[in-house]
Symmetry: D2
Subunit: 284 residues, 4 copies
Amino acid sequence: MTQPLVLTLSCTDRPGITARVTTFLFERGGNILEAQQFNDRASDAFFMRVEFDPGDTSRETIRAEFAPLADEYSMDWKLALRDRPRRVLIMVSKFDHCLADLLYRWRIGELPMEPVAIVSNHPREAIEHTHLGDIPFLHLPITRETKAQQEAQVRTIAEDTDAELIVLARYMQILSDEQAAHFAGRCINIHHSFLPGFKGAKPYHQAYERGVKMIGASAHYVTADLDEGPIIHQDAESIGHADTPDELVRKGRDIESRVLAEAVRLHLEERVLLNGQRTVVFSG
Amino acid sequence: MTQPLVLTLSCTDRPGITARVTTFLFERGGNILEAQQFNDRASDAFFMRVEFDPGDTSRETIRAEFAPLADEYSMDWKLALRDRPRRVLIMVSKFDHCLADLLYRWRIGELPMEPVAIVSNHPREAIEHTHLGDIPFLHLPITRETKAQQEAQVRTIAEDTDAELIVLARYMQILSDEQAAHFAGRCINIHHSFLPGFKGAKPYHQAYERGVKMIGASAHYVTADLDEGPIIHQDAESIGHADTPDELVRKGRDIESRVLAEAVRLHLEERVLLNGQRTVVFSG
Amino acid sequence: MTQPLVLTLSCTDRPGITARVTTFLFERGGNILEAQQFNDRASDAFFMRVEFDPGDTSRETIRAEFAPLADEYSMDWKLALRDRPRRVLIMVSKFDHCLADLLYRWRIGELPMEPVAIVSNHPREAIEHTHLGDIPFLHLPITRETKAQQEAQVRTIAEDTDAELIVLARYMQILSDEQAAHFAGRCINIHHSFLPGFKGAKPYHQAYERGVKMIGASAHYVTADLDEGPIIHQDAESIGHADTPDELVRKGRDIESRVLAEAVRLHLEERVLLNGQRTVVFSG
Amino acid sequence: MTQPLVLTLSCTDRPGITARVTTFLFERGGNILEAQQFNDRASDAFFMRVEFDPGDTSRETIRAEFAPLADEYSMDWKLALRDRPRRVLIMVSKFDHCLADLLYRWRIGELPMEPVAIVSNHPREAIEHTHLGDIPFLHLPITRETKAQQEAQVRTIAEDTDAELIVLARYMQILSDEQAAHFAGRCINIHHSFLPGFKGAKPYHQAYERGVKMIGASAHYVTADLDEGPIIHQDAESIGHADTPDELVRKGRDIESRVLAEAVRLHLEERVLLNGQRTVVFSG
């Protein structure tokens, strides 16, 4: 049986793109299972995601034959196996609620990923509540002096494990510009506030001091400009005057876990396309 | 300048439909502004909505030339001017919050409609807070004995005014099966509960008695089977133990108003397609 | 029949305050209808709101006899008639959705207020969709040169009308520090973003540019420090990549209207107490 | 150092109750940390929850001296140590997301409980993804014939372990009337729909068939009348036409986990009082 494929693409918008792409697939026996497009009239850009059953045509043939069409439109494009689990490197610090949540979702088949390693700047004992199973755990402590070296180690691990996605699951360390650039477009961070409010450290304490009536969390791609990367998903919840900073931290854990899990799912399913500093999310 | 068109269609799903439709539009100079499709794999049905600039091709030409293609696929389809205000008949009872809300949204240009008449079973004074302006108001009282006659009057008014959509904005009267059938697919009701819970009368009091922790509202197409019509939109909000039935009614007004307005907007913009007892909503 | 009263108070927290206050009321024949308290352990402050039926004791007697107790605890306190409509001055600019919403809620008895005047820097025609009825409308244009003078006029109007609350219902003008100080604690503004994000002008356009996935609105007391006043209420909604700035403005109107109306209701019902830069909201 | 206590009570509403209770505590050196009350005017009932530091007075003294006051008002009341972990028996079937979520929250100190046993009608392997640690796991299969016997075993386990709360964390078995009565007021179930809609089996499939636009979950006390017990907490989320029953199940897991965890937290913190078929929830 053939395996479903996912074609994602973006390019300058021109009349006829959808017709060209869908006719291309039809002529090769492809059957569309799900398709979305977005014509961004502000930037004159076009975005498309198609899940399809390729019939008797191999992925290699489709790729080879689509290339000229893609060139003609100067497309950024990708043709992926829909159901192949993506290889994911997860980085964590002392707070493991996002990690535990991601691993549970993976184990019950909710997230199509294969965790290749867990990297932490704290020892294994710091996250003793989380059931890691056979996933390799690497303790890579970091100090100001060793930062460059530690980041190089992370890059090596990512390379050795063929990691396709790096998830900062409350990693609590700021990546250097070089590291952010190295993982551009394939590194997702969860920030524990409703960006752009409360950037930086201790956002729940900032929220408490300011007296806001809602808190939130934001999952975004990591860029050199801290907390300014393209946002994938956000959520927020009401709070009240009786909520102490500790209560905000507790309530925030739930929001962080589900926002990060949703962003990771969307990325793994090839549903997120970059549109400058923003994202196009074909949420299905 | 040509006016944008909206093509909506549904049919049995078959490979190549998207290619055929979009190629058809491209060959006639059409430029897609927004497009969505849904391949319902459970029922093997296909749904599509395309907003496009038809270029130099007239709507009549497109309609005439699309007909054979539509026949080939046994499509249910519609080709409409995107920006022509739809003619809307609004029916109301004593509670006018949904009516006031719809009219305000219309006046500021948020809803692409033209209210052709307001029909109520109560006299004009019952809704004195609402600014009707020049919209004709018709008082059509109803009793068990006069129901058939009153409904015939409503049908005549709908016909005389060329009403395309009937909105039951808290009309509080149950349409007869005949009336529901007559307006099938073009009559939207707002039910003041989160269907399927609390059907029938006084849903907020039912909710209070049951002790639920959320209340909601549901906008749906009217069918003979009361409160069982295809749902277009729903929303809900948290409530607490201190909320009396009166408080629920107050909080409910907000939910009802915004749920109905959203459903009406979606319908007016041709974003709602029927899928058996359910709806496909291309929310944009 | 006696009229229910509302006692609100705040002071340094000390053991026995609740006992003292409730015993005081009981000994004078008062019957509590609703009561809330908040012991802020971070700042060691105490806040209380009691709705009660005073029985045969007059408000004046209660006030006179409560004063020594209040002095003993150095309380900030207020004793008000619960059901007396508060006199409200509403200021508006060209966008009247919040004004229309507030007035509709007032007319159907949802907001216990008496609108004493509408002040706008634009002429009456700018908000032609809103049904003002008999409420005096005052057009007070403002320029950089006339700002001081116009603000003095507003203060005079507020004084002449005995306005207890000033509502900036999308007034779109920044009050001078003097004006903000003059109306301290009784002037509510609606900011069309989820503060602290997107302060300043055109927040929806800022939100669009940043690519956030939620937008919100914040109702807060006006202080000299623009957009930094104590927040009373906030709400937010999800948006998507297809939402243009115009769509955000449209969606935002709903959030703004309901957030401002809720904040005004809470204030009118004496449910909001100041706690430094934050608020205590006894939402009932 | 003295340990904080929680006093909860309900009785017929009469003037002066708050004064009597708070004066009682003050006279014994108690210092209120948090207090809520609810005067239910519809049923003329009074509910109160007070967290307090008892100073030098022992819990036993307070209990003994409060009894006459409680008798005078015919109170239902309870005086508990605030911070003592409650002993909890968790029952589960094949779906372990709620169980995994509860145990994680317990391990990081979010839920003040002590899990005394996990009981399942399926063997340990059915929930292999969940890290049980040292918590005893008991496999008690159930058939129509052995139901009475199995339920007796559960009662014995509950008794032997001094379980104070029974949590049905997607247990998927209907308790007999006798069992429901036995655990009345101390058995919480999570129903995977927004009650009162979609009672009974496979609620997500029912929701899909009906075409609703939101799904939800309800945590409630178990009573003999299935799915009709007093509701403690509910939440809901929007869904769309593209969501298959499997997607609803996936999205539902998140809602179920957080609704059940919140209900359990509220119960463990003595924040839920029964008010006939409804609950009073002092959510803090």
